[in-house]
Symmetry: C2
Subunit: 593 residues, 2 copies
């Protein structure tokens, strides 16, 4: 059974010393997030993750979800009870708006706790995670009546939610969807079609499920411009909020998946199910993307979360397992062998995880903070800047975060040797679970295209300029450490890659497509390097101030140096790859594959 | 259900045009391997793989092996019948010595067919694969009587074999094993202990199983120097070769694994089981390594094999699945969308696979050829050179081959998007199956240490000098193409890394340990680049000679250029990482992990 302890100390360090959260104390929601409140929430969330969710992770993977002949789906043993505890402890209400029963706390705090839940049990955390996504779409584009009707029971956790986009023949290209919405005489719509890969589509955790479904209305163009978004509840809801009859939506089957077995991934059949238009007709994709952007940040956090869980188990194993001797002579001569953490190659596997995880946590919390600031910052300029920054970095956090999340899970599994391949140790589950995060909410290739094809050029490149200026400013402020030298070079590589794109993408769009993933990775390295520089600054200050925990901060400085030595050299290679262009790539005829 | 077609044409091209097999026609075994025989064997092997083994791959993964209360283990439905066909078609006899019933054909031909079998069904191919490994150990160190007694039924496929090294507390560090061998009055030994992770340890495919077991004799030193190797059959064998009573060895349980579900991975209990010393007492590790080195080449081939199978499915999907439009405008305006192979990012995922696979096939067949030449070449010098080369490259082929094998499986899975995560499509199985190859037969970290800590320095660096001279010679002979320029730089990076190791590893062995994996990858890139240069040479000649299949050879030239553009830039990064040394890596105290 894998172990897990929430990294509360590291989260607190990032929130207080790296992001300086107290500077926002006057903003709405932040007022209530005093250091004591933050500490209490992180401690309690960490405890819930470690004590309630983590013990269900391996059994939940083995048992999986079950679809019964009548179409009901039951989650693994212990999940309904854990969900009840999740609800009764108020974890679903943390960041929701007070008018609908939420606590109105900052998103950045919610993200910190969500990481713990996903580390402990990613399949479980997806149920409330999708519910929160559905809430955010209703809150963004619903009418006041819709918000008042649907949000309170969702915030309270009595109802969950889903996103229904993909159909058997289309996922990425939503213009091709065939699900239809025919208007009923009472103004509602009859939704008919089949959706696949619907996470949490049917289960036994909540009284009702609020499906958000993309469909085309009658006469709408058969492209993305004809898509509308509908609320389609599992049970119809009476005007007084009580549950009415079953709607004509059902789970046709469960997918057999590589991982996240304890989350029900459903084929959903809509058979003239009653739906309610959410937002404007034929603006469904825009509404769905509001939800998707928040979700993508959350998926990036899943990459981090699984990496953290896998790393913890690998580190514990490496300290405990004894094989061979240190290359420099026995480290523990009285024992028959040394713990394998003495071996440089084992250390590399752990250090790559550590160097990713600690800066990724900072980057993701920084990202969640931008979401808060985009809504709550004092001035329109600050709100615009925050929105620019998170819009630019969301695809990076999603794709880079999940790619490195899988890499960390694989390296951690490797530390355990043969035991890493055996179910009981839990590492192989982390790898299987982590793998989905590179695929869903838009594959990582789509993220790269979003970054290069859309986000870079938006508003004349304003977001990129803003972000680059921040990185330059942090560099200018930094002492002459190896990380500064390396990050300066890597930032120059990123700027050279950007210039190359400007000069070569318009003449041949395939150059942009060819460069996209390498460019995203290049930006990911710089973004993490930037975080390591901010962490270094905070830890250097703490050491200078005579912290009572010098080893914590010294390890940060060393890990930052490791990042500079082992990660940042990759940016030059990525630049070379980008500059190779698309000619060779596109030269081979289709038949030759 | 995933599809598979054996790449017979590519194998033939490598054997005939890249490796020029006909130059060895006068050597033993090669005489019989006429072009017609080779073609017939490849065709028949490819058909057996595609028609018999591939259809059992997904069902075998789902069903897995079953251990019954009486300790019997049954393989999935269809496996015993497929194994009978394997035996009756003579696939197990291909390269075995004629004196024991084998066909005595070159190892390079056996390797070509083994690739097909592993692509189609890796879990199945492991049963005869392990049997062949056991045969090779008996053939290498057994007495003439032992060979005559054990080999004929093994070659005939009536008996299979296993390797028993790992115990619960030790895998890599075999000096720690606790299994004991007490001498019986009749000269046999009583073997007592527990072995874990024993592939094909118990099953229903063959009449008998010949376990090769590492154990310590009484009074032997409690280190690697005290280890002996024993033959411990499942059923004792009468002098006339008929089966006697059941020996005291049994499968205690099956491991629950990430993949290769259809191969039985057993905990084996030896309870004073009768064993026969194989080779000299206390020289067991050396005997086992004879077997391991052949096995490691085979494991590298598994990386290639899974990559090929995954790539084929990804390429087919990318040509078929329609989503979105080419960035340069609709490629198929009459359809509602273009096939996704028009997208540069999708092409990168396929091209990375293709650029690895085709050169890896050449490298692995080249490696298998060296094994033949080490035994059969005309002069002692040629035999020594071949032995040097395969000894040097074996850890590279094993580790680089399986790392890139997993990468290709993951990229291929990614091409399918959500469908890649679903069992029915088969891609997720390829990822799970490929993962073990990085772990077993010595983890890839151990391969890197074997390369840097042992193989480089052996005989004063003779093997490395020989190999580098061959790469230099191929380069000198090559026309001025981009691949020549890139490979020249990468070779210089490898030589710089080697020099750095010579200057820094003796003063601090941790520098070697820290550099090992990066160094192995650097050598892997150069080795594949070398193969691409040889392939380029062969294809250029074919085009100049007016081949009737120009598109096959043009695709080779383009893929070689892709390798130069997208793979080789990595060598500089690896050199930078190596030169960073081990100081930062080792600086963090154990408690900080």
């Amino acid at each position: 059974m894998p172990l897990y302890t929430a990294p509360v100390k590291d989260t607190q360090f990032i929130l207080s010393a790296v992001l300086n959260l107290n500077q926002y104390a006057s903003l709405p929601g932040f007022t209530d997030a005093t250091p004591d409140t933050i500490a209490a929430i992180l401690e309690a969330g960490g405890r819930f993750a470690a004590e309630v969710l983590a013990p269900l992770n391996l059994p939940g993977d083995i048992e999986g979800c079950t679809r019964h002949p009548d179409g009901r789906v039951t989650t693994p043993k212990g999940f309904p009870d854990a969900y009840n505890q999740f609800v009764s402890q108020g974890w679903g209400t943390l960041t929701a708006a007070p008018e609908y029963g939420g606590q109105g706390l900052p998103h950045v705090l919610g993200m910190a706790v969500t990481e713990y839940f996903s580390s402990a049990n990613m399949a479980f955390a997806m149920y409330p995670g999708l519910a929160e996504g559905a809430q955010s779409a209703i809150a963004a584009v619903g009418t006041p009546e819709q918000m008042a009707h649907w949000l309170p029971p969702m915030v309270a956790g009595r109802w969950t939610g889903t996103m229904n986009l993909t159909e058997p023949h289309c996922g990425t290209d939503l213009g091709l969807i065939r699900t239809r919405a025919a208007q009923n005489p009472d103004g509602t719509h009859a939704i008919t079609g089949t959706k696949i890969f619907i996470s949490a589509g049917e289960h036994d955790l909540a009284e009702n499920i609020v499906h958000l479904v993309l469909a085309k209305t009658e006469g709408a163009p058969d492209t993305v411009k004809g898509i509308s978004l509908f609320i389609v509840p599992k049970f119809l809801v009476n005007p007084d909020g009580s549950l009415g009859p079953r709607n004509h939506v059902s789970c046709g089957s469960l997918e057999h998946k590589m991982g996240i077995h304890a989350n029900s991934t459903c084929v959903m059949n809509y058979d003239a199910a009653t739906g309610y238009l959410l937002g404007e007709e034929m603006k469904g994709l825009k509404a769905m993307f509001t939800m998707m952007n928040a979700a993508r940040l959350g998926v990036g956090a899943q990459g981090l979360a699984i990496a953290e869980a896998a790393y913890q188990n690998a580190a514990a194993y490496a300290k405990d397992r004894r094989q061979g001797r240190a290359l420099t002579g026995p480290a523990d001569p009285d024992a028959s062998a040394d713990p394998i953490i003495v071996h440089p190659d084992v250390r590399h596997m752990l250090m790559r995880g550590k160097a990713f995880i600690e800066a990724a946590r900072a980057l993701i919390l920084w990202g969640a903070l931008q979401v808060d600031l985009a809504h709550k910052a004092a001035t329109p300029e600050e709100r615009e800047t925050a929105d620019d920054l998170i819009s630019l970095l969301t695809p990076v956090i999603k794709a880079y975060g999940t790619d490195k999340g899988l890499e960390t899970a694989i390296l951690s599994q490797q530390v355990l040797g043969g035991h890493g391949y055996i179910r009981e140790w839990g590492l192989e589950q982390f790898v299987r679970d982590a793998r989905i995060a590179q695929i869903y909410e838009g594959t990582n290739g789509i993220q790269a295209m979003d970054l290069v094809g859309r986000k870079l050029a938006q508003n004349g490149g304003r977001a990129l300029r803003t972000w680059l200026a921040q990185v330059h400013a942090t560099l200018a402020d930094a002492p002459e450490i190896p990380l500064k030298t390396s990050l300066t070079k890597s930032l120059a590589d990123l700027e050279a890659a950007t210039l190359w794109l400007m000069q070569n993408a318009l003449t041949n769009p395939n150059n942009a497509g060819s460069a996209a993933t390498s460019y995203l990775n290049l930006m990911g390295h710089v973004a993490l390097g930037h975080m390591w520089l901010l962490i270094t600054k905070a830890s250097t200050a703490a050491l200078a101030a005579g912290t009572d925990d010098p080893s914590f901060h010294e390890a940060k400085l060393t890990t930052a140096r490791y990042f500079a030595e082992q990660f940042l050299p990759e940016t030059r290679m990525l630049l070379v790859r980008i500059k190779a262009g698309s000619e060779t790539l596109m030269a081979i005829p289709v038949e030759a594959f």
